[in-house]
Symmetry: D2
Subunit: 466 residues, 4 copies
């Protein structure tokens, strides 16, 4: 195939992915009113409307303005209005002002999306420069990150509303009769291992599997001591024992910074838990389907934990959090499979037991955004590592720093990841609101250790003897 | 006329007023989208949607629940959801959460208003208990206060929007060719004078003129030394001289608390003023019609001043602010006339010169909400006290305390005014967004001395020799 | 007597007063170590060492630099270092930095005092200009104000120390066997009355009685409705009933700003009260002699109340606070007597019952600083107004504003009082740490309504029928 | 040698070290008055007096109370009063209250030290349990850490004083005529290397060299890519170029959290730098000897940098910070020598060039506390790695986490290091106020990335090709 033909194929393939991803964003908003999409209920969150605009801004700024000859920007003010944090591009509004963006109205934002989509479709009719292809691929991953934020931000917004309306009415709230299997361990021998994504710099990112963020590179050797990982995530039932045994009020279990936060915020349970005397457990939990009794969710993974809570729980139970390298080393041995149809968002499966041949046990389907659960679900009784992808982001013991030889992208896009490399902690594996085409074994998410509004939980680890 | 007939007449009259006032609230919202009505841009302000709900809540809570037999509340949660600050009625949401009220949606709020209006219309078909009539009259004044807040809050919300959209597009922005007359003085002899509203406790408040808030009573004697009042308000041109002569940076001109606020907030001009090199004066001012050059507004009264700025200006120019008693004493001598048609909002006029017979000079029409200016306008060259009602609230030198013998209303309504009697300063006279039927000579408005988001300005005063 | 002889007499008289006042400041510090005198335990307070320096700075700045020919300032840096808040004199260190003034050491501060005292003694050997005499009189009142602050600030500092050491060891802590008399009322007819100090501008302030602050002037007419004042202050026992009946947790009793403060600060009792299960009452109170059981102090006036607490108590008990005019009007009818020996600090007595001839009942000696009690004491059973001077500052219902025609002193001294005339409340009567020569019927003290570290309490008032 | 004899020797050796270390603390305080020792000028710092008490508390709590039969604590309140942050031992006063500790007076604190010293001398007359020996060794290292804090805290306290007195008068302030050599690089091949201190758990810590903190263990393999380290620290002259080229105002050079801090704190230079128009460079720097012109200090290492500033400088100059593993790997190849006399604080030397035989070039003497410089000094022109130990703590690129298999000490001492393992950054090498017997190649210091009051600077690193 000639070079041009190949690139045209890339363009067509990218267009299909582009349209699928953009559609998914709008689909997420279908239960919401324009008023819902105005709410900014915490300093971490943004209004949904802003997410819809900003993701379009990304394509306009980094692709269309540079690569689409004759492109007419939709509105002259949008260039600075919907900038998030790219200082290199000039001034931007303060984040807290996003709640004042009643204008432009949602209709204009949707028109903006249509305008950008049309220009992108036009651009993708023709062969692309490699750099344009790379930026489009980045823009799609960027939009998927904001899909996850749309889910987490609207959950917080609706919870903050004194009426606590659900994002979606639940068809049924009966108790799941699944019981999470007992916690078990899988051993890994460690040694010198390769960590990080192996970039092919000549690949213009034709497929989902060819993409990684700059912070996942370069691939490099790391030495690991022998270790074990828990077969499943920590459940609400596991975590309730920590609460009931006064875990939130015992300073010896907490990092100093965590204890200070705990006292200042008066934490006594994960975010979204509420005392409820009408339940057996004494708690209800706010979900995307409204409040549900903890009695019905006890076997599901605990989520909306800060790093400090995850770390305190691990200390209380006598274990620890895995490092991000241990996690990646273990997970890279599982046979990740993506079921994609025409590059459209689809399901992701993996082989839970690295010690077994791939065919020996059935593959597990990850509980990611496309399952529609919008909440973590219980582990199955299969052997091997359960709940690796999806369900909840897993806090690791690793701070967020650049890999040896790390280089940010050139120009303003260099601000995408690199400038956040201080005082953040790595999370791995994606959650129940992460798009299936967005996650992979080398993916590094990161948040401040006090963050709780993400679907974040934990998997235990321990040292193994050689 | 028999007692019943009289009360029925009251009911009919109240219904007409009720409908007029309620309509005016909706009219104010006509330029706004549901998204606009969600914005809460400062801790002082509330979303417009909330104002529409809360004013209906007031009638439901204090009138319909108590006096309308068989009344069905619109929604069980609204009773606490739209409580503003009445602790006696139980818990309420934190004020800052009002921006999260995407639900109930605007449609529900409007349906709530319709529901309450129907019940009120039904109630007002029949003779009323006096206490019900008094509460309805209070509810209408309450709604008018919130009309003013709708105007001031949406002005702040739209200004906060980085695009600074106008509330209304202005048909024309040409310079007014009116020149404010030179500042002159009118003398008042003082002595023992009666201050406050003379309540007729047997009057069930049949007319606008029969109503006053509890804090305007009881009428009581006050001794006043001889004094003078300026014939007009301080203009933007007057105030620009203070700015140009470094008034914002000279601590000797400021109260200590004002200086601290000035430094902390980095004040260099009134709220809504912005440096603009394209104007002669160097400033533009945001109005309800968007930004306008100060060049075009220099003869209009300066507004959006804090008490601290008003006080510093007065000191700089060698005069002082009037006390609220001086103001009321002077104004009560002007022949206030209301032009009402069936008790509907209408125009208010007064005779500017207390020394002249009422017929000698033409009456002045006050620049209140119904003029549609939505901004203060220049004084005319007529003799006497100009700009007394409307234009801007006039900061006085008086702290807000209860009059001798002051008694709050019984029950929860006692929280209406009395509990704010500390650290607040009195303002008099109404502004360009005050409804005409809402203002009177004895009316006492009050805000914290650092407040600037109201249409607030000043009139100078000085001592007179006996 | 010739003009010069008279002024020389003034100078000699002033020198005696000067030496007495300055000695009293040092006497107050005698129980303190240099380390104690470094502590600044709240943003309201200053280190004792700073007070000693600043009061000397006042004489150096306003008297010696202007009126003492050839005066050599003690240290060039002290001029700005010990400026408190006089913006007209240039920059000054931030107040919170005063705790860092380990240098100059206490020895230098004491040497500074000696240097200033010597220069003052020299100046006062000769006839004085009137303005110099007025400034010295002001400086002495200023120093007495700081004596009171030394007492209140060191009380707070020692209380803040985790060991809670007393200022003075108490010789005995037995229960006082005095019982406060029942609360009774005295009626006052009101009418037009003169309020404020009558200045004699030709008097160079030869005696304590000739002095008043600018904010006590001009004397002016005020109309008062008939009123009653309680014969004694509210006691700890009275106030305990308010606590026990949940007064701190009933929002309807509190001003809105007070309720916000109450919740933010988690108030459940006056400052310096501590739960103590070993006492009958359940409380202990920190005094200048250390913690004492409330059982022993129940008949003493409650103190260290904010205005908000005083106001809430008055509302709870069905009465109100007096206005400052009511207070002054009543008190000016009592026969105030000062026992001075060579103008030195001495005792102050007054006739408690304005309705009685002066000789009919024994005069009361006020519990001021010189009694050495350093804590309020119970009222006696005599008829008339008890505890008028001394014991505790009495919160009034009056905000702090300038009297009609008020003019601040010229120059930097104009900042002494005038610039604080916003958001402050008037207190009257002095406390148990106010010097006896410092207080008078027209004296206006003022603090922010949330202030509690002063010895502040309340006397009840009510309206009287004509 | 028998077991007992050996342990007795340990005891005698520990006593000599104990006395030397304790004497050094008092020596540091010799220029200070009791008032100086009261100042707490920032939330990071403590009063010097508190340090003297707390270090004694450490021996009393962890050694004497547990191992000295019949020990009588000096004062019952001191057990909680001088606890710093050991939650396991019960409540403690808030850190900010330490400035209120005028009582106990300095005399009592010194008596407390004498009391503890006598008990320790008595305890060390006899053979010791191993655990007691380990705790004493820990207590001595703890006291040395507080010696460094005494120096940094009093520097900040005296700088905060508006008069900026020096800690010590400088005998002479002439310009050093040393010129720092040009920046050069030394290559390291990397590979698998052992990191951390090799504990001998059977050694009861007889010598300085046998001690390490728990966070330096366990020794473990780490893989390193080839890298280079700069031969010397970054100088003030180097750093001035960054300032002059607007480095503080270019967001692209800063981590996001660093930029936010930079703007919030209005940073334009390192801590202790002040604009000074009388110098050529335009800056003066506050040192332990008072302000000195930057002209005289330009060749000295820049210090009092936050991690954010160090990182921004490195990015600006095109290099990076070393990881803590790179630093330790390089430094462990230098021939560290301690000159100790009877275990007393003495000098530390090392061989700068790892590639040379030890005898080829002269050893370098580290600029640590005992040199008396109290400020970093210029690098010499010798080959190899200069300024490795002493001068300034070197910020690394590594977050502070536990080494694989890390176990905190048992009991309350487990709070010593482990609970701070979040949001902190590692520094290596010691500073000019670190005691010589306290530092080693494996030593891990850690502070929040915004910290500037320590003597902290940087050494550049870069990747090397294989």
């Amino acid at each position: 195939m000639s070079q041009t033909a190949e690139t045209t194929a890339t363009a067509a393939s990218l267009l299909a992915r582009y349209q699928a991803v953009r559609l998914a964003s709008k689909h997420l908003c279908s239960p919401l009113s324009p008023e819902d999409m105005m709410v900014q209920s915490s300093s971490e969150a943004s209004p949904v409307k802003w997410h819809l605009a900003h993701t379009s801004w990304f394509f306009e700024t980094f692709v269309l303005r540079e690569f689409a000859a004759g492109y007419q920007p939709f509105h002259p003010d949008f260039h600075w209005l919907f900038n998030s944090y790219y200082n290199s591009l000039g001034e931007m509004p303060e984040k807290k002002l996003r709640a004042s963006f009643s204008r432009p109205p949602l209709d204009s934002i949707l028109a903006y999306r249509t305008h950008v989509d049309a220009a992108m479709a036009s651009l993708l009719q023709h062969p692309l420069e490699d750099e344009a292809a790379r930026r489009i691929a980045l823009g799609l991953e960027h939009e998927q990150q904001h899909q996850e934020l749309i889910a987490t931000d609207i959950k917080h917004a609706l919870f903050t509303n004194p009426l606590h309306p659900p994002y979606l009415e639940s068809p049924a709230k009966q108790k799941l009769d699944v019981i999470a299997p007992p916690l078990d361990w899988i051993d890994f021998a460690g040694g010198i291992t390769e960590i990080g994504f192996k970039l092919d710099p000549t690949d213009p990112i034709q497929s989902v599997s060819a993409f990684a963020f700059d912070n996942e590179t370069p691939r490099h050797p790391v030495y690991l001591a022998p270790y074990r990982l828990a077969t499943r995530l920590v459940t609400c039932a596991d975590y309730l024992a920590f609460i009931d045994q006064n875990g939130y009020n015992r300073p010896e279990l907490w990092l100093s910074e965590g204890w200070t936060t705990n006292r200042a915020e008066n934490w006594q349970a994960p975010l979204y838990w509420r005392r409820d005397e009408e339940t057996n457990s004494g708690w209800s939990i706010y979900t995307m389907h409204g409040f549900r009794s903890l009695d019905d969710l006890s076997e599901t993974p605990v989520c909306h934990l800060s790093f400090f809570e995850a770390d305190a729980f691990a200390r209380w139970v006598g274990h620890r959090l895995p490092t991000e390298f241990e996690w990646e080393h273990a997970v890279s041995q599982l046979g990740l499979q993506r079921k994609e149809i025409n590059s459209q968002p689809a399901l992701l499966t993996y082989q839970p037991d690295p010690a077994q041949s791939l065919a020996a046990i059935p593959a597990i389907q990850a509980n990611l955004l496309e399952t529609g659960n919008l909440h973590p679900t219980p582990a199955s009784a299969l052997p091997g590592l359960q709940q690796i992808f999806g369900d909840v982001w897993e806090w690791t013991a690793s701070g967020y720093t650049g890999y040896p030889g790390y280089k940010p992208l050139p120009g303003a896009l260099g601000e995408y990841n690199g400038k956040f490399m201080s005082s953040q902690v790595i999370l791995r594996g994606g959650s129940c609101v992460t798009p299936a085409t967005h996650i992979r074994a080398t993916y590094r998410n990161f948040f401040s250790p006090a963050t709780r509004w993400q679907f974040s939980g934990l998997r235990l680890a321990q040292d193994a003897t050689k």
